[in-house]
């Protein structure tokens, strides 16, 4: 856990204020969605919504990763494939709460026009590629995105955020192996949640100790970072991204399960380090709340999605 930001090797690119603004927005957005009872569209059964959902502590991880990448709005940046229920990373790549509300509320104005929910839409200008639910598929897709980037000899990379459980699936393996063989500029970020021993009520997905133990078997490079050490995640991401950019092929970054509430921890660090005063932090929070309220109202007032004639055939 990053108990002392200042004591670490400085990471000139890690920008605490930018980070705090984003995590504040991401957290407010998740809460608003939860209130809308729309945060868990995948599970019709309300009793299961405590299961399998991306731990909200992972918001910090997602942002630390995303902020180390090249987010652009003109199609010249990296391509991010968020996890199926990511919110924070897409925000860092320019997705807006208004768009997310429109998606969640099934508005005609939503990026997918009501066909999908969550922050699951594609906008390649912003470098966003929508994930599908079946675990692992996106690594296969990413291998082809990366193949194209490699063919174009561009410096862009493709980044996939995924849980640890998805590694048991065939798609995960085929995607990673194909990408490795083709040496594509792909960074796979594995965010661990379960304990490797299957303890704590979480089923065991694998007998591996660290995902780094997988690297030699695919002939790829990797690194690991503590899920609570946001600057370390940021730094490790930047390093791996650079390796991928410079032609070193597939990179794997393992993030060990975060245990702290990144928002709270980060907030108190900013204060205790003297970098920020309470009013400043509160203002950022209020701004986020105001943005969300407005976005929510806007989305609420908009018409529902509808099927245009012949939509079946698209």
């Amino acid at each position: 856990m990053a108990s002392d930001l200042g004591a670490r090797a400085p990471d000139p690119d890690f920008d605490p204020p930018a980070f705090f603004t984003l995590i504040t927005r991401a957290r407010a957005l998740r809460r608003a969605l939860a209130e809308l009872e729309l945060s868990s569209p995948e599970y019709g059964d309300p009793s299961s919504d405590d299961l399998l959902r991306r731990n909200r502590r992972e918001e910090g991880v997602e942002l630390a990763v995303a902020l180390a990448l090249r987010a652009r709005t003109d199609g010249s940046g990296d391509i991010l494939i968020p996890a199926r229920d990511s919110l924070a990373a897409p925000l860092a790549f320019g997705a807006t709460p208004l768009e997310v509300f429109r998606q969640a509320m099934g508005r005609a104005s939503a990026p997918t026009g009501g066909w999908e929910g969550g922050a699951r839409w594609t906008d390649l200008d912003r470098g966003l590629l929508a994930p599908v639910s079946p675990e692992g598929t996106m690594i296969e897709v990413a291998s082809g995105v990366g193949l194209s980037l490699r063919m174009q000899a561009s410096e862009r990379i493709v980044v996939v955020l995924a849980g640890d459980g998805s590694s048991s699936g065939g798609a995960w393996h085929e995607g990673l192996n194909f990408a490795a063989v083709q040496r594509v500029p792909l960074l796979l970020v594995v965010i661990r949640s379960g304990s490797p021993t299957g303890a704590g009520g979480r089923p065991r997905h694998s007998r591996l100790v660290s995902f780094l133990d997988k690297c030699a078997g695919y002939g790829i490079e990797g690194d690991a970072a503590d899920g609570d050490d946001l600057p370390a995640i940021h730094r490790a991401t930047a390093e791996r991204a650079n390796r991928a950019r410079s032609g070193a092929g597939v990179q794997l970054l393992e993030i060990r399960a975060p245990e702290a509430d990144a928002f709270q921890t980060f907030r108190s660090q900013l204060r205790s380090s003297g970098e920020f005063e309470e009013p400043e932090l509160s203002r950022i929070e209020d701004d986020a709340d105001a943005e969300l309220r407005e976005a929510l109202e806007t989305a609420r007032a908009e018409p529902e999605a509808f099927l245009t004639a012949g939509a079946e055939a698209q």
């Binding site: 059964d45 299961l51 009501g114 999908e116 079946p134 509808f306 079946e312």
Partner: protein, 340 residues
């Protein structure tokens, strides 16, 4: 073997009515008690009790050798079920959502379904899980999967519409020596209107036999799953107009109960097939050609169908409502046929 039954799988024993979901839990529990070769595999079915809690309490009751929490590995654990079936076990695997059966498509169609033909013996296993739309689940938590497998010789497909049938058919599926795909519509799981008191005796419902859910002379509706109830609703409305609709609940999709279909069509001369699954390549086609082959002379009108539209299941409520077949769609088509 005798294990203390938790309360939620003892409702029938206590004379209480059960939901569709509880009927399934009871079937699983009772088959596991009856036959030590029956065991369960699936994602989060053990410690967590399953995404829909179908197997709540099973891990405590039967232990981790018979209630196996698997990795997210549908192909892996379905293939493992195939291997275990060779060795005399009777695995029942749960797909957390049936949408996720697709990674197992290869092993199901190329290995499991062909085993008996290839002389590798029977494959007594069941693949079960929740299907169907109307829950705002979007394209990957709402699918019906029957048509992915209907074309594969060697498989059976069961899709019940009532607690009684769900329990009896699941027991039959577990005892069947062939692989059975068992679809459970989420819209039925906890529907209060379906609660019913089940026989306390052990019973099975024969696979391959349809059920007449409502008698009628005016036209035949062949349907299954949640659409049975939508069709019954439509039948009520039409009865007010003097049209008597017969509703045939297929219960088993593979093999189809040709006899029941033909008997009804020969009686009414008019056939409407209703399925929630999408239109093109839906089961209505196979039924239509079978009726052509076996009962063409009895037809007084074209065979028609009411289905979802050809698209993935949309996320937005308004789109999904438009996507799914509704009672009024059935009423309209049935009225047209009755007047034909």
């Amino acid at each position: 073997m005798s294990i203390d039954r938790p309360e939620h799988v003892s409702k029938t024993a206590n004379g209480e009515p059960v939901t569709f979901l509880e009927a399934i839990s009871e079937a699983l529990w009772e088959e596991m008690e009856r036959d030590p070769s029956v065991f369960l595999m699936g994602e989060d079915i053990g410690v967590y009790g399953g995404a829909f809690k179908v197997t709540r309490g099973f891990l405590d009751g039967f232990g981790p050798e018979r209630v196996i929490d698997t990795p997210i590995s549908e192909a892996g654990f379905t293939g493992a079920a195939a291997g275990a079936a060779h060795m005399g076990l009777r695995p029942v695997v749960e797909m957390q959502f049936m949408d996720f059966i697709s990674p197992a498509y290869d092993v199901i169609t190329n290995y499991i379904a062909t085993s008996r033909y290839r002389g590798s013996g029977p494959q007594p296993l069941v693949i079960r899980g929740p299907v169907g739309g109307g829950n705002r689940g979007g394209p990957f938590h709402s699918q019906n999967v029957e048509m992915a497998f209907f074309h594969t010789p060697g498989l059976k497909i069961v899709y019940p519409s009532t607690p009684y049938d769900a329990k009896g058919l699941l027991k039959a599926a577990i005892r069947d020596d062939d692989p059975v795909i068992f679809e459970e519509h989420k819209g039925l799981y906890r529907a209060p209107y379906l609660r019913e008191i089940l026989p306390t005796d052990d019973y099975v419902v024969t696979i391959g036999k349809a059920r007449t859910a409502r008698q009628g002379e005016g036209l035949t509706v062949v349907t299954y799953g949640l659409m049975v109830h939508r069709s019954l609703e439509a039948a009520e409305r039409l009865a007010e107009e003097g049209v008597q609709m017969e509703v045939l609940d297929l219960r088993t999709l593979l093999p189809l109960d040709d006899e029941a279909i033909m008997t009804s069509v020969k009686k009414t001369g008019r056939l409407l097939v209703v399925h929630e699954d999408t239109r093109t390549g839906g089961i209505a086609g196979e039924i239509a050609i079978r009726v052509n082959e076996q009962a063409f002379e009895w037809l007084d009108a074209p065979i028609l169908r009411v289905t979802s539209i050809d698209a993935p299941v949309p996320y937005a409520a308004a789109l999904e409502d438009h996507f799914l077949p509704g009672v009024s769609d059935i009423v309209e088509a049935a009225r047209y046929l009755a007047q034909y």
